[in-house]
Symmetry: C2
Subunit: 522 residues, 2 copies
């Protein structure tokens, strides 16, 4: 890029530094400025533009804040790889500037936006808006949620009543803020429940949280700071990426192969970058549905000790493993406390129940419990007790089995339908041994956004893969397809519609190519 192209409007209302920032951002967006390019020295650019060096300094700082460039004292300012860097949370994320008049526009806020969750919700709405048919004919494979018709609402009603009953016998003191770790009765039960995943937890190694989202947030707030590197599967769970991103961390994405997380790639990244933490979903990986082998689990645990990084094992979907026996949790390979284990009941009861937990060594858990106390005091006693009453029953075990069978049947129906309907399209997809979804890779030349739009027009909601990748621009052309919340006939119809859409787009593409070959020949 030729920096003499930059033209600043010195009489304009937009501050000069802001104009400069925006023009450099535009150049990056247009590919005129690429990763690693060194920006001109502040004095030189100031002279060339006829502005104060302070203006250029401010612009470079704004670029750093927004994760576009990175100034290094004595070395210059360089363009960063696109979207590798999340801006640090301590800089105002943006000034609201749209619909509201007056003073509210001037208030700085510190949320990094847009989040992936907001982007997912936008894409879901967008797809539905493009459908002209009957709303009930629209099939959405986008939600990632458990299937509502299996929500045990009636039984949870009983659990609430039983919780109320059991609380009559407790000391009134428990109804003050209670112990920082949460209701002891519920933690005792959880310690027993978690045993099925292959490890023993002491009740004092369990911190109750309002769901796995708060568990992740507490871990991020306590242990992650701006510029620290974190290892994540690429792709992974977008709500976790949103949490980490708010802390201004640096991504170290680990690619997946047919068996999930590539542990040797993990070893190389750990060796090179000394990351602080690995976030992983070893069983029912989201969105691929893959499950890591015991050998790879052992290796991950070993690497965490060797390179001294924390591991956050997100295990919210372990109950929905469709093979004979799910491998023991990564936590079961933990010999000295590197692994923090997260559980949630969102998928086992319903999402808005809001109870989860973190299992960690006492030293780490103490920090997390103090954070919980500062930010939120404690987890609701009546709610925790209701979850205890609900889950410590044989009815719960039966429910989980029914859910698991239902989801497995849906997975099988969907895989068979994809096999049939997508033949010849050049697509490939992951084999979900567990969980709710799979990742489909598009044949070369097909654009996920284009497929998303065309599918929406045919009454099919699908999610482009980019939002599941820590670095969206590095995402392959892919789609996440959720099979958990539609019965087999609708999944089969969904596969049929997807096949039609893909074949149509491929036909157009080859016609276009033929036409341009023809033009070239003439």
């Amino acid at each position: 890029m030729d920096f003499s192209d930059l033209v600043l409007d010195k009489g304009g209302v937009t501050p000069l530094y802001r104009q400069l920032t925006e023009q450099i951002k535009a150049a990056v967006a247009q590919g005129k400025l690429t990763e690693g390019t060194r920006l001109p020295a502040i004095r030189n650019l100031a002279r060339a533009l006829g502005v104060s060096p302070i203006t250029v300094t401010q612009a470079y700082e704004a670029l750093a804040t927004e994760g576009i460039a990175n100034g290094q004292v004595g070395r210059g300012t360089f363009i960063l790889p696109r979207s590798h860097q999340t801006p640090v949370t301590t800089e105002p994320a943006s000034k609201p500037s749209s619909e509201v008049a007056g003073w509210q526009n001037e208030i700085t806020h510190y949320l990094k936006q847009p989040t992936r969750l907001a982007e997912i919700s936008r894409l879901m709405q967008n797809a539905q808006a493009r459908w002209n048919g009957e709303p009930e004919d629209f099939i959405s494979l986008t939600s990632g949620s458990p299937t509502p018709e299996l929500f045990p609402i009636a039984r949870f009603h009983q659990a609430l009543a039983q919780a109320g009953q059991s609380l009559q016998h407790e000391s009134e003191l428990l109804f003050q803020y209670g112990p920082p770790l949460g209701d002891p009765t519920t933690r005792n039960w959880l310690a027993t429940y978690l045993h099925r995943f292959g490890f023993k937890a002491d009740p004092d190694e369990i911190l109750l949280t309002t769901g796995s989202q708060q568990a992740l947030d507490l871990i991020a707030r306590v242990f992650l700071g701006p510029g620290e590197s974190i290892l994540v599967e690429s792709p992974t769970y977008p709500a976790a990426l949103d949490i980490f991103e708010q802390r201004g961390i640096h991504w170290l994405p680990i690619p997946l192969d047919r068996e999930g997380l590539q542990v040797e790639q993990l070893a190389r990244l750990a060796e090179r970058y000394h990351p602080k933490l690995l976030y992983t979903i070893p069983t029912a990986q989201s969105p691929t549905g893959q499950t890591l082998s015991p050998e790879r689990r052992r290796r991950v645990a070993e690497l965490s000790r060797r390179y001294n990084f924390l591991v956050v094992e997100d295990d919210t979907c372990n109950e929905f493993y469709y093979g004979s026996d799910s491998p023991a949790a990564l936590k079961s390979y933990d010999s000295d406390g590197h692994i923090l284990y997260i559980k949630s009941f969102s998928k086992l009861i319903f999402p808005t129940v809001r109870i989860g937990c973190i299992v960690a060594s006492p030293f780490l858990l103490e920090k997390l419990a103090e954070a919980k106390q500062i930010f939120d005091r404690s987890t609701s006693l009546p709610l925790a007790r209701a979850v205890f009453k609900h889950t410590s029953t044989t009815a719960f075990e039966r429910e989980i089995k029914i859910m698991s069978t239902t989801y497995r049947t849906r997975r099988d129906a969907f895989l068979a339908a994809l096999e049939e309907e997508l033949t010849g399209t050049g697509c490939s997809w992951t084999y979900p041994e567990a969980g709710f979804s799979l990742l489909l890779t598009l044949p070369s030349g097909l654009n996920p956004a284009e497929v998303h739009q065309a599918a929406a027009g045919r009454g099919l909601g699908i999610m482009p893969g980019a939002v599941f990748y820590p670095i969206a621009t590095e995402a392959p052309a892919s789609l996440r397809l959720v099979f958990s919340d539609n019965p087999p006939p609708r999944l089969e119809e969904a596969a049929r519609r997807l096949g039609q859409v893909l074949r149509e787009l491929l036909r157009k593409r080859s016609l276009g190519r033929a036409a341009s070959n023809f033009v070239a020949a003439v």
Copy 2:
């Protein structure tokens, strides 16, 4: 200070901006530069020192980061009051370094410790440990909690069962994460409930939270960043101070007089420092129990508009106002959305219920709701519904009246006992028109820590005032005394013990003085 005194070593290894930063810091430390002094304009100082304006800009930024000075665009850079500044949270708060061996010691974490809550808990335990008598003879005035014997545990049992019942009739879709603001039924009811405090809230202006602590945390995370200034009553609620402190803010303490928050002092601070936010408890101020007059409320609202700062009105104890009619909430004077109103049910049901809310203008609430979604998804539907079922009854209104009468009776008994037992000690105390506690100022020469220890030895738990002040070192010699959770006879006994302790310490002090006078005379 004469800035021409500054001498920079242009051939040195220390960067020029760093040299300048250190010299200004030294001048502040030596008292040559005092609070409120405006630093020279960047261009002028650069010219005077023969350095680039960038050097001066960098130095001023470093001073801002370290909490020494505060730059305001277009107004200049000012020296901040000493130790008003908390370090930014994005720097590791500490490295654990004590009992645990090995790698865990090396992990940086980002919690600022110790917190005031931890300090309060330590002092409470410390007091009990010093008591040699029967545990039940120890009287604690330290907790700040509602009184457990009035917890409506049996009735909350019914509410849980009724909530379960009412959820049977809801669409299953509500059991996914639900609307970001929380259960619509509960919000509709809250809008009606809040009407009694003198303002109308639309259900869409209400965000459900897990208690007022999360409400404060969301506000702090969205709207406060390092170096921003916040106005707080001095003294105030320590759990709120803990939250704000984690954000690395700059304190602007407002002293209280007999009628509470000094609004003209507020005006002066707002004029001078352009704060981002005021945190206030206008009714049942904690720990003083004071309640702000309608005139002062009107003035606070007016100042928030004039100087454009947000106001967080913490109104968790409004139901326990012991006069005839409590003044309308500050929120009722809000004409353009500057005031964010916080409510909690911790004191009206029991603390570990964990439901609260924020009322704010839609524009601000949208940001808070997005933060809630990122960090915690949503507030538990069954729990919110149980609180709705519990509070939307005449039984709840009766309970509140009984609680309020109980607390008023205790306040009256305690005030009368203090009047009787502390005569001649030189103590003064606030008159709590509402709430659970009062602040007692010790006579000159008595040290709160000494009183705390001596009282503990006599089986009395009291809390030194310093933890309630944003800047502990500026706290007057004071104690917080809680009257909510002991019946009148124990409060009277507590006052008696306190009187004995104080008289004893005063006697020792005057003996000591007499002795030293004697020595001096000899």
